[in-house]
Amino acid sequence: MRRCDRCGGEAIIYIRAKREALCENCLLTSIRRRAYSVLRRDLSDGDFAVVALSGGKDSSLSLLMTKEFIEREKIDARIAALTVDEGTSYRRASIEMAKKLTSKLGVEHKIVRMRDFHGFSIEDIKGKKLPNERRSACTYCGVLRRQMINTIAREWGATKVITGHNLDDLVQTFVMNLVRGDISALSRFLSREPPSSFLVQRVRPLMYIYEREVAAYCLAAGVPAHVGKCPLTQGMRIGIRRALDEIELISPGFKLNLLKSAEKIISSSRRRLSEGIELRRCEICGEPTTERICKACQLKAELVNIIKG
């Protein structure tokens, strides 16, 4: 048995960048320290925090950390969870996990079906030829889910949306924006001030925590979380992930260093990056967008055509 380098208990993970093995308790202490540093900065008295809960390991741990933080630090904030059911068979299992966790924690939980919100579900496009070769099912699902979360949370009165994005997710997003040359997205990357009052500020408690750490803790502690993969997953993120994983294995700590560098570079040049980018209201749905018609409405129109066709 490998011993924890801090307390001598049974180690469950080896942190390559720090060259130390940690047990479940020491890993939790380490995760808690990093998650609390984000929550301390972004959550305060009077906030209504809505956790975007898919039922997967990341959002489940994010909910646990936020709930625990509010109680331990005696923050006068309200917390609730929101689950978007995009209608895939894979989602059914994770929704059960989300229900189990919120009921165990006594957290108010709202489940909204994409079919009720947008008039169709992601399952409807399964097996259909997508109209744009450059777009995968994940693009449609991601954009439409993000819009749902923001709109529902805002109408619910939320002041913060808590997400389960971990360090790996954020580094992938940053590199994807670079690869696409999407300056508008880069200018908004990790921005703490939403550019419009229609966008609810996002808080990412797991932003400095590796996906491996989240998985190891959830598996060891038995956090009710669904582990699986979406049957429709595809797209650019997969290739980017593989490439970043290879670099991380060669140079441990690379992902964290990249995220911290991106944060520093972008925050010091955010104004310059966002020059000429104007936020207006979508002519169809009224949600904030940089174009005449927002991305969600553009994609929705494409999907309606495929589903009808």
């Binding site: 490998r2 996906e211 190891a216 598996l219 979406c230 997953t233 650019m236 997969i238």
Partner: protein, 75 residues
């Protein structure tokens, strides 16, 4: 000297100084995308395997697709 370890139910005979990391490499499971459970618990990659251990690899990432060829297409 060798040890006998069960990997996904199959009995394998391995050198006595095999680590979890070695097994990842032998089985071609990427250490960032998969986690090894030894006797049902997550195990650090520098842990030496012991005689009679039960090992299972679990995929920890959502964005790992059965759709092949995306990487080549992207490049």
């Amino acid at each position: 000297m060798t040890i006998k370890v069960y990997v996904h139910g199959e009995l394998l005979e391995l050198p006595w100084n095999t680590t979890v990391k070695d097994l990842h490499e032998m089985m071609d499971y990427n250490r960032e995308s998969y986690m090894a459970l030894v006797n049902g618990r997550p195990a650090p990659e520098d842990r030496y395997l012991e005689d009679g251990d039960f090992v299972k690899f679990v995929r920890i990432t959502y964005h790992f697709s059965p759709v092949e060829g995306n990487y080549e297409k992207m490049r």
